[in-house]
Amino acid sequence: MNDQNIKKSIKEIVLDKIKKGEVKMRPKAHFVLKTILALSGAIILALFVLYLISFIAFALRAGGMGSLPGFGSRGLSSLLVSIPWLLILIAALLIVALEILVRRFAFSYRRPILYSVLTIIFLVFMGSFIINKTYLHPSLFQRAQEGRLPVAGEFYRDFGMPKSRDMHRGIVSGITDDGFYLKTPEGETLTVVIASETRFPMGVGIKEGDAVMVLGGRDNNTIQAFGISKINDEFNFFRQGRPTTTDPRQMLMPYRMPVPPNR
């Protein structure tokens, strides 16, 4: 077959198939819908990643895990156990999926993947930072604790709690000669024994009503404290007067520290 014949046959074959209706032009609506679906998918995925990363940050801070490195190697090993690795892995995979989804758009593929991924990570972390300044997670967490969060309740209860057996969280319900009583969110009252080696990376001065995280081995209802750290008042879920809103608009209001009553 010479070149002239090949040329003829390609054009003819193509036009013939078009005329016979073997190949049909897709309507414009098909492509509009496809673009809308891709964009909505990217937005939904981005919002989900945003929610997940803000939740991870919330779970880490609410669990008092920020103070764990101050307890030395024992604190660090407890931190490694407590970090929600599965959620971090899921968030990382979702960021990869988001990158793949936005890669079809010129603003993304015209730049190196590294820049595009770093931009996504930056935006997601900024968004998470803003979400963590709102009532969203504290309100949902409290509703989960009270059994008023049907779908995500277990998720909040599970990830909101420390994973290490050495970590105990609660409020100081009474002071003893050598320590204090700790009331846990599960309703238990544990006796915490403070020794001369007990570490206080966030400072001493524990008083009744404080929310604390105690690191130490538990024997029945007694904990030999290896280290004690106060939990930021922002995450004291056991005291009264915490935000209990069910209104999503109020959940997204910026969080302000409660003003202590005048004594």
């Binding site: 390609i10 054009k11 193509v14 032009m25 414009k28 015209r110 190196p112 590294l114």
Partner: protein, 187 residues
């Protein structure tokens, strides 16, 4: 017909979109040779190339409503051709899923005039030694030196950063230089 043939690609594509299906033949006429050259140089298989070219034009017709007539038709068509050629190549060999060239930023200088002189001098030699290059280096070389696309257009066809186009062309030329040196030719 002469008035129609003087129309640019984008206007003809617009007419096809609005239902003048027969005008699609003009676009096939205009790009058939280019697509043949691109497919043959990239696939190195005339039999496969023949089928792929048909498929390229059928896909073009099928998806013509997704073409934005404010943009360049040729770049859009080359994008379809690239996808079809990659699919054809995948049937024969496994292509790497991830490419570090696309991941990191690269520096390149877009010095238009020297590129133009370089393009004319190098075209002939490249034509003879393309087959020794990996597909990821072969394709930008074909599009730049043989099809005359700009770096930005190649970036839009391959969906890669412009700097990556520059680095791939540079590496491809270096690889060809090494090959040519072995046979006693200096590029």
């Amino acid at each position: 017909m002469s008035i129609l043939t003087s129309k640019n690609d984008e206007d003809i594509a617009k007419s096809v979109q609005s239902g003048q299906v027969d005008l699609f033949g003009i676009l096939v006429d205009r790009y058939e040779e280019k697509m043949k050259r691109y497919a043959r140089k990239f696939l190195y298989d005339t039999e496969d190339a023949q089928d792929v070219i048909q498929e390229i034009f059928l896909k073009t017709y099928e998806n013509i409503n997704s073409f934005d007539t404010k943009r360049k038709f040729s770049t859009w068509l080359y994008r379809i051709a690239h996808n079809e050629l990659i699919n054809a190549l995948k049937k024969k060999k496994t292509l790497p899923l991830f490419d570090l060239d696309k991941f990191f930023p690269h520096h390149y200088h877009d010095n238009g005039l020297s590129q133009q002189i370089d393009r004319q001098d190098t075209r002939q030699i490249i034509n003879q030694h393309l087959g020794k290059l990996e597909p990821k280096y072969r394709e930008p070389i074909i599009l730049y030196y043989l099809e005359g696309l700009s770096y930005k257009e190649i970036a839009d066809v391959l969906h890669i950063p412009v700097s990556t186009v520059g680095i791939r062309i540079k590496r491809a030329k270096e690889a060809m230089k090494t090959t040519l040196k072995k046979i006693g030719y200096n590029l």
